[in-house]
Subunit: 229 residues, 2 copies
């Protein structure tokens, strides 16, 4: 991990909500003291159980948010792509992280101290609303995951994940940055069964698989499998 302090927001291609809010209330973004941090693949960005001190915004690369469960088994809650908050679920006054975040490739993030952020959202209502909206979205995803894990068969769970990935990558054809094991963790399924279902879907002509490149050929059917469970 490498750090560079006091980033100048003017040079940041990503005009994030924090920056916008700060401009709107006529405050110099320098006051935010934004800090970039660069992580390599598989490095921890934040670790379950440690203190939450900063709001974290993903600039480029990608990361997985996961809970570290029993017997070293993880569940990936969802993935982070540029222009989203890390730690959204925790930054409102939860003293420590309820989950871990790891970079899935070389990844740059921007940190702003919680205290700075707080003073900002208390001055700017719109910003608070934006935060809350993003927050609500995360919670919705998680509730959905509860149903999936408890009530869908592994077929439906993997179908869910594939649809989710295609949405993340914005296309029916994508190269996922997940190993088979991670695809399993995202779906709450063992690695072996993740593999089995990929080949099954391939044989059924629903998808094409080449390594980590996936092509969804029959989105309709895949959606049906996901819905039926």
């Amino acid at each position: 991990m490498r750090i560079s302090k006091n980033i100048d927001c003017k040079n940041c291609e990503l005009k994030c909500d924090i920056y916008t809010a700060s401009i709107e209330i006529d405050e110099d973004p320098v006051k935010l003291k934004p800090t970039y941090a660069y992580y390599s693949k598989n490095e921890y960005i934040s670790k379950q159980g440690t203190n939450v001190s900063h709001a974290i915004f993903l600039i480029n690369g990608s990361a997985k948010i996961f809970i570290e469960g029993l017997n070293n088994k993880n569940i990936i809650l969802y993935l982070m792509t540029p222009n989203t908050y890390i730690g959204l679920l925790s930054f409102f006054e939860t003293p420590y992280y309820l989950y871990s975040v790891k970079a899935m490739e070389d990844t740059t993030i921007c940190m702003v101290e919680i205290e700075v952020l707080k003073s900002l959202y208390l001055k700017n209502h719109d910003f608070l609303l934006k935060l809350n909206k993003a927050f609500g979205k995360s919670v919705a995803q998680i509730l959905n995951k509860i149903i999936t894990l408890n009530q869908k068969h592994i077929r439906g769970r993997i179908a869910d994940s594939l649809l989710y990935l295609s949405q993340i990558y914005g296309s029916d054809y994508f190269e996922m940055k997940l190993s088979r094991k991670e695809l399993g963790e995202l779906s709450g399924v063992s690695e072996e069964n993740a593999v089995r279902l990929l080949t099954e879907f391939k044989n059924d002509n629903i998808i094409d698989v080449k390594g980590r490149k996936i092509n969804i050929k029959d989105r309709h059917l895949l959606t049906q499998i996901s819905n039926l469970g």
Copy 2:
């Protein structure tokens, strides 16, 4: 369901955060236009998918918060007892309820319009912090449930629920307001297996069961079962 409008907070034995906040900023609580609603057992207090228009506070009685899943199978996220918010997870700008709430006995709630609440927390920082803290607690419970559902055996899941119930009712001896089916829904287990495990725990001298009255005799062992999964 019966309603009485324009409650006078002075007569309410429960001095909730909303009331406190309103006093702190020197605003007459009458402006909150608090409304009581009385529900009988098993009535819906809010229904998954409908609009969120009010913040809801439980005055007395109890309620279950659950997701309505596939094939009419529900998962109870957690229970509500007096002096807690209903709909906490939704009231920040989520357009509709992500879950349902049903009264588990005759229950009184107090409603305040979302818009009123919003104007309040924008004026009073402490109140916002309190809301967020409660919010974080709910999310923590839910993340915990994900691990439980996916990684623990039914033995551990039921143990979890029993410990949770004893915490809710504040004693090792309690009468739960849940049917066996609901205990199953709280634990992500079928009704039959919920029954089986109660008798198993009883035979192992870990608990006493008489109808819906539970007595935890060996909390230590029960905790161990919960931790080991």
